[in-house]
Point group: C2
Chain length 346, copies 2
Amino acid sequence: MKKKVTIYDIARELNITVSTVSRALNDSRSISTETKDQVREMARKMNYSPNKLAASLKSGKTFTIGVIVPSARVQFFAAVIHSIELNLKAAGYGILLYQTNESLENEKQGVQTLLEAQVDGIFASLSLETSEDISHWEAVIKQGKALVLFDRTLENFNVPSVTLNDFKAGYLAAEHLLKKNFRNITFIAPPQKISIFKQRVEGYLAALRDYGAPVHENTVRYGTLSIEGGKAEIRNMMGVSPLPDAVIAGDDFTALGVIRQLKEEGLPADRVAVMGFANEVFSGFITPSLTTVEQQPHKMGAECARIFLSMVKKKNPYENPEKVVLEPILVERESTEGEARPPERP
Amino acid sequence: MKKKVTIYDIARELNITVSTVSRALNDSRSISTETKDQVREMARKMNYSPNKLAASLKSGKTFTIGVIVPSARVQFFAAVIHSIELNLKAAGYGILLYQTNESLENEKQGVQTLLEAQVDGIFASLSLETSEDISHWEAVIKQGKALVLFDRTLENFNVPSVTLNDFKAGYLAAEHLLKKNFRNITFIAPPQKISIFKQRVEGYLAALRDYGAPVHENTVRYGTLSIEGGKAEIRNMMGVSPLPDAVIAGDDFTALGVIRQLKEEGLPADRVAVMGFANEVFSGFITPSLTTVEQQPHKMGAECARIFLSMVKKKNPYENPEKVVLEPILVERESTEGEARPPERP
DNA sequence: TTGAAAGCGCTACCAC
DNA sequence: GTGGTAGCGCTTTCAA
């Protein structure tokens, strides 16, 4: 393990100064072509590798951005991360990853860690616990760092963001079922009041109203979003209330749980129409294949990158925060193909 | 956007020197408790946030490690990344992510970028293109950085690594089928000669030999690992050769493609037994559910972290490179439940 | 227990 | 077009 070679070594070897070497390496216009060539050649020969840390310390730019997500192994976030890395790499930026595991405490810790690492900006999707307490996010802005929120944001927090049109997503889902004459439609949402689900529920309720479908207190059920959570909801429903004609689950995993539990309860496959959100990889391959709403993670990552890149150019990046809203896309599959049952007459 | 507060500001405010502040903040034993308290209190009050860049430049340690993977949106890698981040965060390290998209060129670029960022170590899973040319990896070692390879490694490259027992994985898969009296078993592997598939194929062939099953030139077929690749292989087989009793696909996606194409060809679901590798999320939920081999991504990430942490303590980290080999786990499901057809008599 | 001062490797400003 | 040099914010000897 030999000592690292620096621009001083190159300068000494070539009998010029570090300023010249630095400028040559950065392709400054004020350096002659011959000097540049000499320096580059010597750098190659000496196996020089720049220390970006030193450059960053001096220049104040690290060319890394922090990405905060609840979990990198969730398909959707993995896809967004993939897209962010791809798009930002092209612009010379690196990605520092931080997972919150849905905890506000971790989220705060993440912001602090990334800030100390002097990242040029932070892209984040909020934890389920995040709501009132956003002091850590305000700190990011106060430090003059670029902040871009994606997918899970806060309603009254006026920062650049890329989200899905969640109201429309909920509306789209409900409307799809209503058009097929399903009337009793239950929505399974998580108890946490984060923006995206509030809006999906609202969109769903709006559709029910528009189509004159019944809304009662059990129309929206609050449960855990997971396979187990979906199963549990069906078990609960079997006990007390009459089964709905259709179920909209908060995500594809929950929808899968619903389908499986219905099967276990011995009900015919098309007794209850089921749909989810996210268009997970498995959703097209299960039986019945799952109708769902595509959330465009790839586009979301690309838009985050684009917004960030435009922010760094502005003098006042938060002046008119750009808020991109992506359109949800309905993906129709077998799980909602069944016939709606004729409405019950009293 | 106010000027950042540094230890100089704290020192001035408290009428002490930066050395004292630095030591107090780092909880040095040579500082009195009162001074520490004073400094910490003042730091809090002034909203001080340390600049890790400066500390790293001086100390030579960044407490970040680079993670290089083919793609972060592949389930398996996403799960490993998740695990690495979790385990390393606990030890105070951050994760710098780099995707190669299976390109050797990108992989080299990634190593260079991470090295320039002065990461303390690199965890990597090699691209499909990587084989002879490993100069970039040797550079990592020469720089005295910790290198840990996982999942996809090179046979004759003697560095710390965490892999699956791929020979056994292949053997396990074949044996599972052989025990059920399947005899004509085809293996679909990628054309690239990367270690993990070579060894899986060898394990598979060893099992065929051990059980006296036939091995001919079409026993191993080389194709693309993807849903489309799996479909294509089946189409090709339909044309020329008699269909095998069972197919072992290189991964779950390919296995899924095989299953779907068999269905499209109008064959009964249990005409050909199918299995894959990776235990993707969807594999348990498709019809028929897919028999596969679990690769333990979570454990793999944890082991990478553990090895790295032990390496940084050693004076000569590469002396006796630790090579962890994880055991593959057979996950039996419906896709291999069919009856083996009686052997054909000539 | 604290202070003074020398850098870590690079950039950028000011001279010439 | 090139040189000299002062830091960026922190750690870390060496002295006191």
